[in-house]
C-alpha cells in the first residue's frame, strides 16, 4: 500500500510540478480545521465558508512564502487575519449611518457544539480505514446497510454489529475528550 504523502511532499509537488491534485489533498486535510477557526470568529456559516475559501486561495498564491511550519496552522493564521479584517469592515459598515445593513450574520454559533463536532471528526479520522468508510457510507451518504454489506462482502448483521462497535468507540472517545 502506498504511504500517505507528507505535507512537505505535497507542497513540493504544488511548487515544483504545479500539481493541483497535491494541493487538493493538502486542502482536504485541513479544511475542516480552518473552517472551524473561521466559524469561531465569524459565527455565521456563509461568511465562514467565504473566508475559508479566501484563505486557501491566498495560501495557494503565497505558497512560496510558507516556511515549513504546520500547514494547517499556517492557513489558520491566514483565515484569522481575513476574518478579522472582514469583521472590522462589517463593523464599520454597521456604524455608517448612510448604510442600511440588512444582512447581519445570524448568531447560530455554539462553541460547545463546535468542540463536540471537532472531537467527533478527530475520532472518526482516527478510525481504521474500513470503519471510516462504513461511517461515511451509512451516515453521510445514506447508503443502505444491505449495499454496504455487499460492498464489503459481509452480512448485513455483521455490518450492524460493526456499526454498533464503532459508535461505542466514538462515544467513548468523545466523552474522554
Amino acid at each position: 500500500m502506498a504511504s500517505r504523502p507528507t505535507d512537505i511532499e505535497l507542497i513540493r509537488g504544488v511548487l515544483l510540478d504545479s500539481n493541483a491534485r497535491a494541493f487538493e489533498t493538502l486542502m482536504k486535510r485541513y479544511t475542516s480545521q480552518v473552517y472551524g477557526a473561521a466559524l469561531r470568529l465569524m459565527k455565521d456559516e456563509d461568511n465562514a465558508q467565504e473566508v475559508t475559501q479566501m484563505a486557501f486561495i491566498q495560501a495557494y498564491r503565497q505558497l512560496e512564502s510558507w516556511r515549513g511550519e504546520n500547514f494547517g496552522a499556517w492557513v489558520t493564521i491566514i483565515v484569522n487575519h481575513i476574518a478579522l479584517r472582514h469583521l472590522e469592515k462589517e463593523k464599520r459598515r454597521q456604524t455608517d449611518p448612510l448604510d442600511d445593513n440588512t444582512d447581519a450574520p445570524d448568531e447560530t454559533y455554539d462553541e460547545q457544539k463546535e468542540q463536540r463536532l471537532q472531537s467527533l471528526e478527530t475520532a472518526i479520522a482516527e478510525l481504521p480505514e474500513t470503519d471510516r468508510q462504513i461511517i461515511q457510507w451509512h451516515y453521510y451518504e445514506d447508503i443502505p446497510l444491505q449495499t454496504i454489506a455487499l460492498r464489503l462482502g459481509q452480512t448485513e448483521n455483521n455490518i450492524k454489529v460493526r456499526i454498533f462497535r464503532i459508535r461505542e468507540r466514538l462515544k467513548n472517545k468523545c466523552n474522554y475528550d
Binding site: S18, E24, T31, Y35, Q49, Q53, F56, R116, L120
Partner: protein
C-alpha cells in the same frame, strides 16, 4: 454521550462535510483557473521568445550593419560589433530556455 446525541452529531458532521466539500470545490476551481492562466502566460512567453527575439535580432543586425557600412569600419571590427551583442543575447536566451517548463 447518549445515542441520540451521537446521531445529532453525525447529522451535524454530515452537514459540515457538505460545507467542506463546497469550500474545496470552490477553491479548486480557482486554483485550476490560476494554473490555466499560468500555462497561457508560459506559452505566450515561449512564442515571444521563439519569434519575437529572432525578429528583434534580425532588425538589430540589419540596422547595425547598415550603420557600420556607412562608417567604413574595418571588417574584423565590424564582425566584433555584430557578434558581441549576438553572443550576449544567445546566452540570455539559453538561460531562459533552461528554466522554461511547460508542464502545468
Amino acid at each position: 454521550m447518549t445515542d441520540q446525541e451521537l446521531d445529532i452529531l453525525f447529522t451535524e458532521c454530515a452537514k459540515r462535510q457538505q460545507s467542506v466539500e463546497h469550500i474545496n470545490a470552490t477553491v479548486m476551481r480557482s486554483v485550476r483557473r490560476d494554473l490555466r492562466i499560468k500555462l497561457i502566460r508560459k506559452w505566450a512567453k515561449l512564442i515571444g521568445m521563439c519569434f519575437g527575439v529572432p525578429l528583434a535580432l534580425v532588425v538589430y543586425i540589419f540596422v547595425l550593419n547598415e550603420a557600420i557600412s556607412l562608417s567604413a569600419m574595418q571588417s574584423s571590427l565590424r564582425i566584433a560589433c555584430i557578434a558581441l551583442p549576438l553572443i550576449t543575447i544567445a546566452v540570455l536566451f539559453a538561460r531562459n530556455l533552461k528554466k522554461f517548463r511547460l508542464d502545468v
